[in-house]
Amino acid sequence: MKSTVKKENKLIKFLNSKKVVPYIFVLPFILSFSVLTLYPAIQAVVMSFQRILPGQVEFIGLANYRRLMNPVFYRAFRNTLLYTFFTLLVLIPVPMILAVFLNSKIVKFKTILRSALFIPSLTSVVVAGLIFRLIFAESGASIANQFIGLFGIDPIVWTTQSWSAIFLMVLLASWRWMGVNVLYFLAGLQSIPDEMYESADIDGANVFDKFRHITVPFLKSVTIFVTTISIIGGFRVFAESYVFWGASSPGNIATTLVSYLYQQGIQRNDMGFGAAVGVVVLIIIFLVSLIYLILTGAFKKETR
């Protein structure tokens, strides 16, 4: 009896020790991460060297990667780059300015505005895509064509042209993610001490000076964070393309890297090739994020 109590004590002591506790706390995450993410990720790398058919799995070396050198993949890569570039162009400066407005004293109904901006990110992208598809339907009676008609522009077949395809995807993404990014910047704004603005007022700085020399520099860490997740999100784009065109679009105008992965890997039952696309996407995201973080000096802070 005595010994078991002692044993328990020992066990509890062990579990409570400062060296062990952190590991116990992160254990559930580590476990679920390794089973649900790490293992599939490693398996995907292995699969990218295989040809996978029911009852026939064989290693084929680099053949899947060699097949990547085709026009559709390049097109998908180009589309994804363009999409990422334009979403960054919209989704960083605009939310920043909106956040400043929402944070200032001159704007009324802040809560309503904030919710209105945030609600789109709660909607299912499938539902949103359906509505967008109808808005941008090709007939002259669709809302978008009626609207441009006011300016004397002829109806446009939105879903079959290269420029409008990227435009539609960026528009849908901007509409959806605006509120989330505004929230990040709003949070960042809270950390800027009021004294900075007060002393700037005393020095006679105008609104633009204050924005340029106080707000933007203080938001740097938030900006880096938002940009990084936007880059990652941009390269992973799938739903924005899928809701308009499904997995394949006319002339591949809206095929993205991930929709190419889905099309080849799942729909076409070529999982080895799909995995190869996935590995390449992973490497691209890794490199781009790394370069961006090095350029913005994020590592310097870490090592200090």
């Binding site: 990110s121 006319p250 002339g251 099309q263």
Partner: protein
């Protein structure tokens, strides 16, 4: 050293963010949740009934099988089955089935596979049960071309849902206004001439061209050509196909009797509205499209007539079976023998084929039931069109040409829709010859 460690740490962090959702992108995953749209079970109250799972993407198919199961249980009480019919969204059902068969986990006993996906399941070692023991003795009663679509190396793997004979639907109001006698249209040249008459008299285009296989495949098969020949060689860029695509392109840009279908296909909201408003005088589509007419174009009731396809030259087929779902029994089923026998009962027998028409409105793949009294009874489709549908079919029974399906058919369909039809028909910026040989090159690269 510390620097490298932190670099590594950030590397891990980036990977994590990449993997765990970056933008909090929860929307895209919604499409892949394994939600069953609908689940119907029958026979659960029968003791000792063998459970069978059936997967489909069409609720009507589920009802059809449940009805068959009820009749089966009455007829064979000693071999009763408990059928559990599950309906999933289209893409999801095929993806799930593919993954289930690949991994050997959770495979259903019976499943519907749509034709565009079918060849995915014929790759590698085929994991489906051949249905030869049921089909071979009855072969003469079927339109064989329909069965060949689901066959590989002499084994029939799929039980067909319909014949899907391609026909021309004419809007008789417009035809009468233009003074065109549709029975005098025998060749495509006649069709073009009639089209000019229609455009002149009414200002409405004679026909519409969808920018997918509907606007190309039936026409080349009719002339004995295809994407692949009988040996599986790619022939998509042969002379007949180039000539046919030129003809289709000319209908739009040279003779100006056709338009690109609004929305690009036959199944978009734009197209239903356009057609319902008498936007075009006729359209070429398989018989299963009758359902779309009755469901989405109510204003055309009583105005549409169905005729076989015109021909390019004498000897061409008058119709080609298109589209269609094959029902299969995966080899990993726990009761493959019972599943096969039930599938035969539900879809291949004479009674089953009669039910395909009376319950689903599909033209049965067995021609020996086309003149049976049950198919002469009045129904929705006879009211909408007329009651001569099966007379038309019987008339052209020997003039039907089938399609060749290979494991690369999905690649060909994809290339056709993404590039060939887009460039030639919609954008008109490539000649058919250029587009087809360029497309052939792309498809060949998949076949290596």
């Amino acid at each position: 050293m510390k620097k490298y460690l932190s670099l590594f740490g950030i590397g891990i962090a980036v990977t994590l963010m990449t993997a765990c959702g970056g933008n909090g992108d929860d929307g895209s995953s919604e499409e892949f949740e394994a939600d069953v749209d609908e689940e119907v079970t029958t026979g659960e109250d029968i003791e000792g009934a063998t459970p069978l799972d059936f997967w489909t993407f069409a609720g009507t198919h589920a009802d059809f099988f449940v009805d068959a199961a009820e009749r089966w249980n009455e007829e064979f009480p000693d071999r009763a089955i408990q059928l559990n019919a599950q309906t999933y969204p289209f893409d999801q059902m095929h993806n799930n089935l593919l993954l289930a068969i690949q991994s050997g986990q959770g495979v259903p006993d019976i499943a519907d596979i749509e034709i565009a996906k079918f060849s995915n399941f014929l790759q590698g070692e085929v994991q489906l049960e051949p249905l030869n023991e049921f089909i071979e003795p009855e072969l003469d009663n079927f339109i064989e071309e329909r069965l060949d679509i689901y066959a590989k190396d002499g084994n029939y793997y799929g039980a067909p849902t319909h014949l899907g004979a391609t026909v021309v639907y004419y809007n008789m109001d417009i035809m009468n206004e233009a003074g065109v006698d549709i029975d005098s249209i025998e060749t495509w040249d006649d069709y073009v001439e009639a089209g000019k008459q229609v455009v002149e008299a009414t200002g409405v285009p004679m026909t519409v061209v969808p920018v997918n296989w509907y606007g190309f495949w039936p026409f080349i098969v009719q002339r004995g050509s295809d994407f692949f020949d009988d040996n599986g060689e790619l022939i998509i860029d042969n002379e007949t196909n180039v000539d046919t695509l030129e003809f289709i392109q000319d209908m739009i840009y040279e003779h100006e009797i056709a338009e690109v279908s609004p929305g690009g296909d036959y199944h978009s909201e734009e197209f239903y509205g356009f057609m319902n408003d008498a936007g075009a005088a006729s359209m070429v589509a398989p018989l299963f499209y009758m359902k779309d007419f009755t469901e989405y174009m109510p204003d055309l009731e009583g105005k549409m007539a169905i005729r076989p396809m015109p021909v390019f030259e004498e000897g061409d087929a008058r119709s080609v079976p298109m589209g269609g779902t094959g029902t299969v029994v995966p080899s990993q089923s726990e009761n493959p023998e019972l599943a096969k026998e039930f599938l035969n009962y539900a879809k291949l027998t004479e009674q089953a084929n009669i039910n395909l028409w009376t319950q689903l409105g599909f033209d049965p793949p067995r021609w020996d039931v086309w003149d049976s009294p049950e198919l002469e009874e009045d129904n929705l489709y006879f009211q909408y069109f007329d009651d001569t549908i099966f007379d038309t079919l019987l008339e052209i029974r020997d003039d039907i040409e089938g399609i060749n399906i290979t494991e690369y058919t999905p690649d060909a369909l994809e290339e056709l829709e993404t590039n060939i039809m887009h460039n030639v028909i919609r954008e008109n910026n490539q000649t058919p010859e250029e587009a087809l040989s360029q497309g052939a090159e792309t498809i060949r690269s998949y076949m290596e």
